[in-house]
């Protein structure tokens, strides 16, 4: 029995070693088709002249138009800013941190001076996200520990939610380590290339109504169409969320995720070492008291908060939204311009 178990253990151990070694031959972003497409596109360019990048979820991908951003900041012939949007749907914390750290270590980061990242709370990883390439590809032991620290330090969560999160992260981590069915995909990055994700101007910005118009994927088309129709039928949800946000900003509460904050500080420091100024963005509709509290801890030079509904009324106008959670092209342009002006006022003019 002992001999059997020992041999089996060694057999499995060698397999895990093989899978770890083979993982070095794959790209770090293989399971995220949006991000992967963008990186592959930039790497295929002979000259990459970007100096400003945006990272985060769909609230970056669908909201920040680099063309508007550049135009707002560049006067005449003088090109101060050339930006690119690396945002990808559902790229939550800590996936965003993982991608950003890997980006910092890559050649693409050379020449980059400013990076914007969506401020987000640690995702609990719901059951529906399990067994997917995009949930597994970025899993690693340090992020696993980071998530557990954050989740178990969160007094707002019930024990069962915490345990479910531990379970789901552990399963995803094991699937990543064992490469359950993903070995081939991880080695073939072209599986994750779709030029459509680059957007019309090939700057990484792809508004939702544009996707609704041009996509050939009927599932995506129907889903976007339904989201749009649902919002048109009942846009009162926007008012409810705005009211909630207003209350959050009026409430004096100091409870925030310390673990996330420590990580943010490390990211700012690591960026600085690479000569990059990292700025966190609090996007409109980031409806969470803890997140707003967290934003207040971040140094002012590393934060742009465009979420406050009192200050930024334009950001909460129904006409500027595609669905209950995302801006449309018009809203995105207004938001991007606002972001650019805030960036100019806070950072560029204080250099």
């Amino acid at each position: 029995m002992k001999q059997f178990v020992t041999k089996l253990f060694f057999f499995a151990f060698i397999y895990v070693m093989i899978s770890i070694v083979t993982s070095y031959f794959g790209s770090y972003h293989w399971g995220n088709p949006w991000y992967s497409t963008k990186v592959q596109f930039l790497e295929s360019q002979k000259t990459v002249a970007i100096n400003t990048c945006f990272f985060g979820s769909s609230k970056i991908y669908r909201h920040i138009n680099p063309a508007v951003f550049d135009e707002t900041l560049n006067s005449g012939e003088d090109k101060v800013i050339t930006s690119f949007n690396f945002g990808a749907p559902a790229t939550f914390n800590p996936q965003t941190y993982y991608l950003y750290e890997k980006f910092l270590d890559s050649k693409l980061a050379e020449g980059v001076r400013y990076c914007f990242m969506e401020l987000g709370q640690v995702d609990l990883l719901s059951d529906k996200m399990l067994h997917q390439d995009r949930t597994n590809y970025w899993q690693n032991i340090s992020d696993l520990i980071y998530v557990q620290k954050s989740v178990y330090g969160n007094k707002d969560l019930t024990l069962s939610k915490k345990m479910n999160s531990t379970r789901n992260y552990s399963i995803s981590y094991m699937e990543k380590v064992l490469f359950l069915g993903t070995l081939r995909q991880s080695m073939l990055s072209e599986n994750y290339y779709d030029a459509q994700y680059l957007g019309e101007a090939k700057n990484g910005f792809f508004p939702l109504e544009m996707e609704l118009e041009i996509t050939n994927d009927t599932v995506v088309k129907n889903s976007l169409f339904n989201r749009r129709m649902n919002f048109e039928a009942d846009n009162a949800i926007l008012n409810r969320r705005t009211d909630r946000l207003t209350k959050f900003y009026a409430t004096s509460s100091s409870y925030f995720d310390v673990v996330n904050f420590q990580r943010i500080k490390k990211l700012i420091l690591k960026s600085k070492e690479r000569g990059i100024h990292l700025i966190f963005i609090v996007s409109p509709l980031s409806t969470n008291q803890k997140l707003i509290n967290l934003s207040k801890q971040i140094p002012d030079m590393n934060l742009i908060d465009l979420c406050d509904p009192i200050k930024y009324k334009d950001m909460y106008v129904v006409e500027n939204f595609f669905d209950k959670g995302h801006l449309n092209s018009k809203g995105a342009d207004i938001y991007t311009e606002l972001l650019a002006r805030e960036f100019d006022r806070k950072i560029l003019k204080n250099r």
Binding site: Y15, I18, S19, I171, L178, G181, R184
Partner: protein, 482 residues
């Protein structure tokens, strides 16, 4: 819980270690663990249907006890029929209620009478066809005095719910499996290694062959009107490999897992695609079901005794019932009837048992005659699989009609063709390994055992890596729905 899931990969080692930690002499505790583990395994899918298994176990255990005490033949018969009716009643309700109701309504409307009858939204309990037949075999064997009923309720519950074969077989006979629950099981190193090898091969069949073939078979069958005849032929061939890889893979994993716990289950698939005629195919395909029907239906009906008409009737009954067992759809009945038609010419000429040995035994290649016989038998089974896979009879005939069109001579074309080459190569490698191991219980049983350790392990790692490398999108085991 699926065999090819992470849940099972965690579940199995825990149960294995606990089981052997209890020790071989503590049979009762080991059996209790098996029952608990089996109920957990089953309840992972839907715990509510555990009630059916528990009820069925208690019912057949009690009837078994009563049968030994009861000596009056008419009362013994009554006990037997009460078990058959209750067990088949559950099966009939969950599996066939809507089918019979719909056909009843359709028959009335055909004669111009409209009746209102609403179908029920019934969930089919996973594995009900398998464990129902297993418990029935116990009661029938006790009734026929072929088996002494067990007095150990835990052993009996373990026999009914034994997790490796609970949801998709092999359908074990009480005469083979039940006594193993009452004997001391000792850990056997070589048996366990053999079990792992069989699990490995089963996973390869399921994950690499069946799941990858399924992707193409599904695309082609679901959009058959858009494809050429030649592509549809390939679609049917992919389905043939899908169903073989899926079901025999499951059986291999079940048998291998049982061996880890010291149990011996019977072989369920004996390389059926190397059969030289349909008679041989049915001796090699889903052996546990074929022999069940043979012993409990065909022989009681008279078997091959009686007039030619009675014999033909019996053949049709067994094939049609076997088809119907697979599902409540006319397609399965047509599949069974077609196989009966294939079988009859051999049966009438008394040539259905001419190929009892292993094909090309002690030779690497088959003779040309054998090759032709294997190819034509495979062709016939592939043709029959079209009925098995089709959504309905109309779909099957459309599919066949499309095959026999001018487009049959066009080069096959797919919408998603980037992996078709590697998949065809994989199928060839798979067939080669199966061919080399065709004389064994499963292909890897003796393959490479006389090679140096390093070669053997490199081969096993190649299989493991190919499982992870070529894994198709996960499909549920086909036979779960039966």
């Amino acid at each position: 819980m699926l065999f090819n899931s992470l849940d099972f990969a965690i579940f199995l080692p825990i149960v294995f270690l606990l089981y052997w930690a209890i020790g071989g002499k503590q049979i009762r505790w080991q059996n209790i663990l098996i029952v608990c583990a089996s109920y957990l395994f089953y309840g992972w899918w839907d715990w509510r249907f555990l009630i059916l298994i528990v009820f069925s176990s208690f019912l057949d255990f009690s009837i078994g006890q009563l049968l030994t005490k009861q000596l009056v033949p008419s009362k013994r018969k009554l006990l037997l029929w009460s078990s058959i009716l209750v067990n088949l009643g559950f099966l009939g309700f969950f599996k066939y209620y809507n089918f019979f109701l719909d056909n009843f309504v359709n028959a009335f409307s055909f004669f111009g009478m409209e009746i209102n009858a609403n179908s029920l939204n019934i969930i089919l309990p996973v594995g009900i066809s398998f464990y129902t037949f297993q418990t029935l075999s116990y009661t029938i064997d006790v009734y026929k005095r072929k088996l002494e009923p067990t007095k150990d309720i835990v052993a009996f519950m373990a026999f009914v719910s034994f997790f490796p074969q609970l949801v998709a077989g092999p359908i074990e006979r009480a005469t083979n499996l039940l006594p193993q629950f009452t004997k001391v099981r000792k850990f056997d190193y070589s048996k366990s290694v053999d079990g792992l090898r069989q699990i490995l091969w089963g996973l390869f069949k399921k994950v690499v062959i069946a799941d990858n073939c399924a992707e193409y078979a599904n695309i082609i069958f679901n959009n058959s009107a858009e494809y050429s005849g030649s592509t549809l032929v390939l679609g049917a061939v992919f389905f043939a490999f899908q169903i073989y890889g899926d079901f025999s893979g499951y059986s291999d994993i079940a048998i291998g897992t049982s061996r880890l716990f010291g149990f011996n289950l019977k072989q369920n698939f004996a390389f059926p695609y190397f059969s030289r005629d349909i008679g041989e195919f049915w001796r090699r395909w889903h052996i546990s079901l074929s022999t069940w029907f043979r012993d409990y239906l065909y022989i009681p009906l008279g078997g091959s005794r009686g007039s030619l008409l009675v014999k033909i009737r019996n053949v049709f009954i067994i094939f049609i019932v076997s088809g119907f067992w697979h599902g409540a759809n006319w397609t399965f009945i047509a599949w069974g009837a077609l196989n009966a038609l294939y079988f009859l010419p051999l049966f009438i000429r008394n040539k259905n048992r001419q190929n009892l040995d292993v094909v090309a035994e002690n030779r690497f290649l088959p003779s040309f005659k054998e090759f032709l016989a294997i190819s034509s038998t495979f062709g016939l089974t592939v043709f029959a699989w079209i009925f098995f896979r089709a959504e309905n009879i109309g779909h099957a005939f459309d599919y066949i009609g499309q095959i026999f069109s001018k487009s049959l001579f066009r080069f096959p074309a797919f919408k998603k063709d980037e992996l078709i080459g590697p998949l065809l190569i994989l199928i060839v490698v798979f067939l080669l390994i199966e061919w080399l191991g065709r004389g064994q219980q499963y292909a890897l049983e003796r393959l490479g055992l006389n090679q140096p350790k390093i070669v053997r392990y490199a081969f096993y790692y190649a299989i493991v890596i190919s499982i992870f490398w070529f894994k198709g999108s996960s499909q549920q085991f086909i036979y779960f729905q039966f």
